[in-house]
């Protein structure tokens, strides 16, 4: 058993035993960490709010057989302002949920970590673009090697006009390629998605209300299709 230090962003946590929580953290060095914070559910716990979701923390861990125990924690960045607005929290929840779904334990995840950090930072600064989550999901797909084809046909590879999107095919498809289950797109949508996939999260172009909703729908369904699970955070306010 050894002591080691690490850092990461808290993805989520759940109650464990009487007063403990299992805290799931994304470390740039070691991927997903599953750790235990002992006694954290007591009001006077020395952890306080330091292990709340979205917090970027420095950790000292005591390595255990199954789970590492957190012995010390200090905050690098709280991202606490994003918690003042319901829509921002849901956007942050979606980012964290998607990252949780793609990260694996023991695998260095620097790009994924930096993406999450940039996404949370953009939310924390407020006045967020309605395209932020869409851009985040497109970039996430790219980081895990699943970037959707947007500037060419996912089926034949030609740079033709693409007016349909095939989730199984892996992106936009041209009219010459018959693709089962492809959905029709508004003209210009693939170009709109392509700009978002390339843009800086901190400096997204002005959202276009004609495209925003549909772009989100496509990015969300694409990620959900390849993760083989729903992003339930996004569904919170659907009803």
């Amino acid at each position: 058993m050894a002591i080691r230090s690490d850092q990461g962003i808290v993805l989520r946590s759940f109650p464990f035993g009487e007063a403990d929580r299992v805290v799931v953290i994304l470390s740039p060095n070691h991927g997903k960490l599953r750790t235990v914070a002992k006694g954290i559910r007591k009001t006077k716990s020395r952890f306080g709010g330091r292990l709340e979701p979205f917090t970027h923390v420095d950790l000292v861990l005591y390595e255990g057989r199954n789970l590492d125990t957190i012995t010390q924690v200090s905050v690098i960045e709280t991202f606490s302002h994003l918690r003042d607005d319901l829509d921002q929290v849901i956007a942050a929840g979606t980012m964290v949920e998607a990252v949780d779904a793609v990260a694996s334990e023991g695998e260095p995840s620097l790009r994924l970590f930096l993406l999450l950090q940039r996404g949370l930072r953009a939310l924390d600064q407020g006045e967020t673009s309605s395209d932020l989550v869409t851009a985040f999901l497109l970039k996430l797909a790219e980081v895990i090697g699943l970037a959707p084809a947007l500037d060419f046909c996912a089926s034949c590879g030609r740079q033709a006009q693409t007016l349909r999107f095939g989730f199984a095919a892996g992106g936009a498809v041209c009219d010459n390629c018959p693709t089962e289950g492809a959905v029709r797109l508004r003209p210009g949508l693939t170009a709109y998605l392509s700009v978002l996939a390339e843009a800086d999260l901190a400096d997204l172009p002005q959202p276009d209300p004609r495209f925003s909703g549909e772009a989100m729908g496509i990015a969300r369904r694409f990620v959900e299709y390849h993760l083989e699970r729903r992003l339930s955070s996004l569904a919170v306010l659907d009803e």
Binding site: E18, G93, S233, V236, E239
Partner: protein
């Protein structure tokens, strides 16, 4: 492991929160050695609780009758309603002896990570109560967690347009604690929520 009924009880006990395999074994063997009547009383108490306990038709507190004793108490102020996540939280607020209104149990909290939506909680019933009971203020006493925060914001967003005041429990430094040990999030909130003296 063990034979038939003993193992069955161990399995059942170890599904309870906070009870591991070892404790379950200890409890099972303890129950094996107590008087027949004692074991029967325990079993009966569990069954009675499940059969007889109801949720209050008004506030979703646990009760033995149609409405809970707090809702039936005429000395309590119906204009003030404290909104909590779980029925256990009522006991905690009651112990302070600082609150003389009624309650509303949501049955959980909105979860922006993992997705518990408003439809799974008692928001519609709360909206109805505001219309029917002359409620003037909702005091939101959800946990100071991401989920509790999201729930409080949702209550404010949805219920304020109905003409009620919505307040939330202040969050800040724990009484008897040391400033040195306060974390950034807690201290930040204590600062925002500071009070004039």
């Amino acid at each position: 492991m063990f034979e038939g009924p003993v193992q069955r009880l161990i399995d059942e006990l170890s599904r309870l929160p906070g009870i591991g395999r070892k404790s379950a074994q200890r409890l099972a063997f303890h129950l094996l050695n107590v008087e027949q009547a004692d074991a029967r009383r325990l079993a009966q108490a569990i069954m009675d609780m499940r059969d007889q306990v109801k949720t209050c038709a008004r506030c979703f507190n646990v009760t033995g009758s149609e409405e809970c004793s707090i809702c039936r108490d005429l000395r309590r102020d119906p204009a003030m309603v404290c909104v909590v996540e779980r029925a256990q939280d009522i006991v905690v607020v009651e112990k302070t002896q600082e609150f003389r209104g009624r309650y509303h149990v949501l049955g959980g909290a909105l979860s922006p990570i993992g997705g518990v939506g408003p439809g799974q909680l008692h928001f519609a019933e709360l909206r109805e109560r505001i219309g029917n009971e002359g409620i003037e203020e909702l005091i939101v006493a959800t946990n100071p967690t991401v989920e509790g925060d999201a729930t409080a914001m949702y209550v404010a967003r949805e219920m304020k347009p109905l003409g009620v005041r919505v307040t939330r429990l202040a969050s800040g430094l724990p009484v008897g604690g040391d400033l040195d040990y306060a974390d950034e999030l807690t201290l930040g909130r204590a600062l925002v929520g500071r009070q004039e003296m």
